[in-house]
Amino acid sequence: MRDGDRGAGFAVGFVPQRFSLAGEMRVLDTVAYAAWVNGVAREDCGKAAGTALEMVGLSDNARTRVRALSGGQRQRVGIAAALAHQPRLLVLDEPTAGLDPGQRLRLREVVAAIGATRAVLLSTHLIEDISHLCDRVGVLAGGRLVFDGTERELTALIDDTDATAAASAGSRFERAYDALITGLGAARD
């Protein structure tokens, strides 16, 4: 995660993995309404929404109806909705799931820019998300945080000189993750 340095209103912004939007609403009204629901004063919602849309690169689509947006754009609307009230922490649950590679790339760029100004907690199963976005990595297993460190520290858990490991079809990160989870299971047994 990259640390942020601001906070206003409700401290957390959350984007679930699956969320819906009202297709007939305009993008601006959707984000502004989300700002209001998250505590922004009614008279400030328009400005807050405009700022959030600028952060996710959708200012030009402010007056577009949601149903006309692509999947990636809808995901960015969701992020804007979670940002509009200027939370100190933004929590994203699988934000790139279901997106094509181009949409994932653009979304990561948006998240990276956001992460420069506030803390972002990203939940993902995609290694590329972690590699390109995250300062620190946490691994949850059985409801417990079993690893908290950098990507380098995680991949250091495996021995690359092992012949079996070298023949594996996974990346170093994936093998390290697998080794960690497998080791936890053995310890329980």
Binding site: E24, V37, A49
Partner: protein, 427 residues
């Protein structure tokens, strides 16, 4: 750079509010068109229309509220997450505030033409606030229930179901008194001389208010607690309160109407006959007098005291109450009661006086009369109502008016006991 401008009636914009509002106003205007054409108005009827027009306004408002809730409150909406600070009470208050204000204004706009006509043409009294309040509270209860259905149903597709459900509630009241205390629309409307009973109206005000509050509380609780795969059933507990309150009203049906207190009447005596009307019908007094005079002219004027008092039917209940209070229940036995009502008026026909003099009233009171005996009295009554002119065919055609008049005068006893037939006619 200027701040972005949000839509009016945000967040869904104007159409989900203005279209149903237009429908509500149009329904009220169209449904009261006939009333506005009446020759005169009664405030008691106009006041009652404020709850009678819930017949379509309520279902429309409920369906629109369901649509609104279904579009905005689903727990998977990015702007409706239960964890948000304004999820629950604040969101519900905003939505319901928009719905209630818009639809109430629309309803009042729809009722405005009838109200304006009543202001101009009513002859007595003023608006009755409690029946009007039951109408507005019935509308708000429909909005609240519709909103709750949308919150629980989680989709705008529940809107037609809301419409049908609320309309079914409306229909419940049309079958009789049983559910009248629980539904905004009554199966019968009050009229001059009788008003909606105070306990009945107060109960309805309280009940509709309770339904609205319970539905709002339940919806708010659901909004704070629902999750994508979880519907908080216990949040619906507030709905038990109006259900419990409804039981006494169903088990023991209250009286819908009461006799109007301190009835104002306008009376005048002409040609030895006293005519009295309710103050709300004062313009009908000369009409009744003329009708009675026309019948008496056809009859021959000498009624031998059989017609001494001709009263507006609207005075009947108050008169009966006064007679009972005075201990003389037969004080007004000789009154000819005339139906005086603004819709399809018949008070200009002299029908009731004609029926009395022709013996038709007596025939109707007996169960053992023959068809021939009844038919003769009806023919005679129509002859009197028509100013002594007979139809081109029938038993009275060909009989000179003076001859028929003399015959009726000579056969009063027979007519009053309903024992004569066409065979007894002269010629």
């Amino acid at each position: 750079m200027t701040d972005p401008v949000l839509r009016r009636l945000w967040p869904l914009g104007p159409w989900p509010l203005l279209l149903p509002a237009a429908a509500i106003a149009a329904a009220a205007v169209l449904a009261t068109t006939a009333m506005r054409s009446w020759p005169y108005q009664e405030w008691v009827r106009t006041s009652a229309e404020f709850h009678q027009q819930n017949a379509f306004a309520g279902p429309i408002a409920a369906a629109a509220a369901t649509y609104y809730a279904g579009r905005l409150t689903r727990p998977d909406r990015v702007f409706a997450l239960p964890s948000a600070p304004r999820a629950g009470r604040d969101s519900a208050r905003r939505h319901l505030g928009l719905l209630a204000v818009t639809f109430t204004l629309a309803y009042l706009v729809g009722m405005a033409p009838l109200t304006a006509v009543t202001v101009e043409h009513a002859e007595h009294g003023g608006p009755d606030p409690l029946p009007i309040a039951t109408g507005l509270l019935g509308l708000w209860a429909s909005i609240a229930v519709g909103y709750l259905i949308g919150v629980v149903g989680r989709g705008a597709l529940w809107a037609p179901i809301s419409f049908v459900a609320v309309f079914a509630v409306v229909v419940l009241g049309t079958g009789g008194d049983t559910f009248s205390a629980l539904v905004p629309v009554l199966h019968v409307a009050p009229a001059a001389g009788r008003v909606e009973a105070l306990p009945f109206t107060v109960y309805r005000v309280a009940f509709f208010l309770l339904v609205a509050v319970a539905a709002v509380v339940a919806a708010t609780a659901v909004l704070r607690r629902h999750r994508t795969r979880h519907r908080p059933v216990r949040a619906m507990a507030p709905l038990l309160v109006p259900v419990v309150l409804a039981v006494p009203a169903v088990v023991s049906t209250p009286a819908l109407f009461a006799v109007e207190q301190d009835v104002q009447r306008v009376c005048r005596t002409q040609r030895g006959i006293e005519h009295c009307v309710h103050a709300a019908h004062r313009s009908r007094l000369p009409v009744m007098e003329q009708a009675t005079a026309a019948v008496l002219t056809a009859y021959g004027d000498d009624t031998s005291g059989r017609v001494r008092r001709v009263y507006d039917e609207s005075l009947r209940w108050a008169t009966a109450v006064d007679d009972a209070a005075s201990g003389n229940t037969e004080a007004h036995q000789d009154v000819v009661w005339v139906a005086v009502q603004p819709m399809s008026p018949t008070d200009h026909t002299g029908r009731e006086v004609a029926w009395l003099l022709a013996g038709a009233t007596a025939c109707a009171a007996r169960s053992d009369t023959t068809d021939e005996e009844r038919a003769l009295t009806v023919e005679l009554a129509l002859w009197l109502q028509n100013g002594g002119r007979a139809a081109s065919s029938g038993p009275l055609s060909g009989i000179a008016p003076h001859a028929l008049r003399d015959w009726m005068s000579a056969h009063r006893t027979g007519l009053d006991t309903c024992v004569l037939t066409a065979a007894d006619l002269p010629g």
